[in-house]
């Protein structure tokens, strides 16, 4: 079963095409990376997946629920974290987690908060206002909020942005463990290529709202003849050709352009 199914998704703001006819599917338990420069359409795509933004056209199905007609059933089994969408600053960490526990109807809420506090090393800061935390602490609290309802689909927008390497590694390790234990499907937007290589089984590369390439990190490295995803990212961003001059399914790219598969189905 596909946890996430996106078909011909488009978002237009007036004359600006923010997301242009993208399609993809994510199997249950997969971790999908969403790569792309600033303004590539990653955040817009995530906002549409979360139901915050209504697509101009296209269809999103998450955990079997059509987001246009049945989004609340899907939202109860999803969650989201982004360092750019902070939790309210004045309530304490425990109060924030309690609020979201109620919103997601989490059973045995205090026990769940205790578990998350222990696993994410939050016990000492539970009674501190969220606004007084360091960046690393805020990220761990945001992650605790994102996991409060044990989501089946987790959407993460640059989950380790502005973190020191140690805290970033801690967060990545924790995500790996959570995915292994829960079988959760993760969609991860990131500018950290090492993180994407480490966590993601498949990658979608967005540019100007379109999916310009996709595949496993290994496939992309091979296709572009590079040692790491950062070089692949630069190749795509600067319109350099792929090494093999073929698309992700082996078809030849037309006119030497980077392979574009926007609007075509691809199961990840």
């Amino acid at each position: 079963m596909h946890a996430i199914q996106v078909e011909h998704l488009t978002k237009r703001y007036g004359d600006v095409l923010a997301v242009d006819d993208i399609s993809f599917q994510a199997q249950t338990g997969a971790t999908i990376g969403l790569l792309g420069g600033n303004g590539a359409g990653k955040t817009t795509t995530i906002a549409m997946l979360l139901g915050l933004l209504v697509p101009t056209s296209g269809r999103i199905t998450i955990l079997g629920h059509d987001m246009a007609t049945d989004r609340f059933a899907a939202l109860a089994r999803m969650n989201f974290s982004s360092p750019y969408v902070a939790l309210p600053h004045r309530p304490t960490v425990a109060q924030n987690l309690r609020v979201y526990g109620h919103l997601y109807n989490v059973p045995k809420l205090e026990r769940r908060i205790g578990e998350l506090a222990e696993e994410l090393n939050l016990t000492a800061i539970l009674d501190r206002p969220a606004g007084q935390l360091s960046a690393g602490q805020k990220t761990r609290v945001a992650l605790a909020k994102a996991l409060i309802n044990r989501p089946d689909v987790l959407l993460l927008d640059e989950p380790t942005a502005s973190l020191d390497p140690d805290t970033g590694d801690l967060v990545r390790s924790w995500l790996e463990r959570y995915r292994a234990v829960s079988g959760c499907t993760i969609l991860l937007a990131s500018h950290n290529m090492a993180e994407v290589e480490r966590l993601c089984s498949h990658v979608l590369v967005l540019k100007q709202g379109r999916v310009v390439d996709r595949g496993s990190p290994g496939d992309l490295l091979q296709r572009y003849g590079q040692q790491n995803l950062e070089e692949v990212f630069l190749d795509i961003a600067r319109d350099r050709q792929q090494a093999s001059d073929t698309g992700p399914d082996g078809r030849a790219a037309e006119d030497g352009a980077a392979w574009t598969e926007s609007g075509k189905e691809a199961s990840l």
Partner: protein, 263 residues
């Protein structure tokens, strides 16, 4: 559903538990208004040789009941804006919270904020000026209900404008009801207004409540016709405001305002 509504209210209540200035702010203006109008009523009563239970009482009753409308409206609008200021709407609306549950929570907070704000003023009016608003009898409950509903309807309109125009519409949360006060017949009957303004007063639920209040205080008469008009108009106001909110909420999901609002 109940738990999600409680969750949204808990977020606000937790703030009040941690901050006595926030609590003080709720009752500061109602008490101040009551004192100003209480002294004015006392002065007028002394000048005309009447007891306070006359024209002066209608002033105090008017100011206290008007605070019910005002605090109900501000309680809902400001609770929504606190979600907006803390950039929390994005988190709330990616959870399974339905928009009507959000509104229910905001109404719950409005009732709490209004009660905490207005009740001390009512009790102090009793203590300072021997004016007992509860002497109006059980019908006071119906007055309160009507004035609160009108406050919520206006607040939903304000919230809808904030969703449409962003933070630029925030100022309306504080000022919009003051614009309706002259036509609400808070301190004088509708008949005092110029003839061309009277139709405007007639479509305000609050004007009918205050006419009803004066009928009791001055003539000991319950005007059911005014109460029926207030309930009927409130039904229309609330339905209109709910429709406007639903449309603006959908428009905000189309434009992306739910993500960027508060900037």
């Amino acid at each position: 559903m109940i738990r999600r509504i409680w969750g949204l209210m808990y977020r606000h209540l937790a703030l009040y538990r941690r901050s006595w200035p926030r609590l003080l702010e709720l009752c500061y203006w109602p008490i101040l208004q009551m004192c100003i109008w209480g002294f004015t009523a006392n002065y007028l009563a002394a000048r005309t040789g009447n007891t306070l239970l006359g024209a002066g009482a209608t002033l105090l009753g008017g100011v206290l009941l008007w605070e019910v409308t005002l605090r109900s409206q501000m309680g809902l609008s400001i609770s929504f804006m606190e979600e907006m200021w803390s950039r929390n709407l994005g988190h709330v609306f990616v959870s399974p919270v339905r928009p009507f549950e959000m509104i229910a929570a905001l109404i719950g907070m409005s009732i709490i904020r209004m009660t905490v704000g207005v009740l001390p003023a009512i009790l102090l009016a009793w203590a300072f000026y021997a004016f007992n608003l509860f002497s109006l009898g059980p019908i006071l409950v119906l007055f309160f209900i009507n004035l609160m509903i009108m406050g919520w309807a206006v607040a939903l309109g304000v919230v809808s404008l904030i969703l449409r125009h962003g933070a630029g519409a925030e100022a309306l949360a504080w000022g919009v009801l003051f614009g309706l006060a002259p036509f609400s017949a808070v301190f004088y009957p509708i008949s005092v207004l110029p003839w061309f303004i009277q139709p405007l007063a007639q479509i305000l639920p609050s004007a009918h409540v205050f006419e009803g209040m004066r009928a009791i205080l001055l003539h000991g008469e319950i005007r059911w016709d005014h109460l029926a008009a207030a309930f009927g108009l409130n039904l229309l106001w609330l339905a209109g405001a709910a429709l406007l909110f639903a449309r603006q909420f959908h428009a905000a999901r189309v434009s992306g305002a739910l993500i960027s609002i508060g900037e």
